[in-house]
Structure formats: C-alpha cells, structure tokens
Symmetry: C2
Subunit: 107 residues, 2 copies
C-alpha cells in the first residue's frame, strides 16, 4: 500500500503539518489513521493519506491527495470528518497547505 507523487497526475495535494504536545505524537498518528479509515476514505475524491511522524516527536505530517479541491472542501463539510478533525485540533495545532506538484526528481 502506498501513494504515488506524480506532477502529471491531476490531483490536489494537502500537506497538513500538525504540531503536537510532547508525548502525544503517537496518539495523534492513531487518531488521524482512524479518521482516515472511518471517514475521509469514504468521501468522494479521496485518493490517499500518508501519515508521517517527525524524528523529534513534535510533528505529524499528513500528505493527502484528493481528486479535486471541490472534493476536498466537500469532505471538510462532512459532519463525521469534521468531528475527527475537531478531536485532532484538541491535541495539536495544524497548518494545512493546499498545493500542487510543481516538479518531481528521482535518482
């Protein structure tokens, strides 16, 4: 299981950087994984969510892909998805960056 980053693919990328209270990184990782499986994954336009944890224990980054910005915004209005994000917001600050792939370079 995994996602592909491809500048030629017509997808919207959301890079969400969470800053988490010390000692609660793993809890946030599990919360986001559960939110993805229970809510986001079943919304129209969901492609992938890839949850990363920082080596310093202070951040969690979700690299997520949606078919379009419209699909992503519709998900944000979904009550179940919003409930999960509220639970994440209770233990972390987050900085969501809506973006597109400009270029990809491989070895």
């Amino acid at each position: 299981m995994g996602a592909t980053i491809d500048p030629a693919a017509d997808v919207m990328t959301l890079i969400n950087v969470f800053t988490v209270e010390p000692g609660r990184q793993q809890e946030l990782v599990e919360l986001l994984a559960e939110a993805t499986e229970k809510a986001m994954k079943h919304q129209r336009g969901f492609i992938s969510a890839n949850i990363h944890k920082s080596a310093d224990g202070k951040r969690v980054v979700n690299y997520a892909q949606w078919r379009s910005r419209g699909d992503f915004e519709a998900m944000q209005k979904n009550a179940q998805a919003a409930g999960h994000m509220k639970a994440a917001a209770a233990i972390a600050k987050f900085d969501p960056i809506v973006c597109v792939v400009a270029s990809s370079h491989t070895a």
Copy 2:
C-alpha cells in the same frame, strides 16, 4: 517520473516547508529544481525530491526521500548543496521536518 510513499520502504523523508516572499514562489520552485538536478541528485542516498507550490502563493514544500539520515546529513555538508540552500535561504524561511511514514491509506 514520480516518487512512491510506502510505509514498508526503509527511507528517510524530509518534508521542508518554505515560506516565501510574495511574488517569488516560482523563482524558489525553479531554484530548488535546479539545486536538485545539479547537486542533491548526485549525492549518495538520494531517492527523490518532489517540489510543491501552494495555491495561496506563499509556500513551497519539498517532499524529499533519502536512503538514510546519514546520507542526508552528509549531503548537507556538501559545499555545492550548501551553496544552493543558501540561495534558497536568501528568499525564503524554511522549516525542515525529518520524518518517517507511519501509515499509508489509499482509496
């Protein structure tokens, strides 16, 4: 061309979030692409660099993969690579997050 995000792969991920002066986003994208092609790509352990630009014009995010943290740190000491990063630092602030993939969820 593209990269794969896979929690089972033994790679180090660097998510570098650049905050750029208004109007200089494209310049930074090109600078990072050139730095990758000319310097980073030729360093030991380089796997991929994936440069994203935010819809609001204020950020650039480089999602990069290295074989190990040791390889990444060796690259940072490389004079040519350091020169490119200094040029990026002249027009943007950056927040590099060293991390690993905790989980990946696909549609």
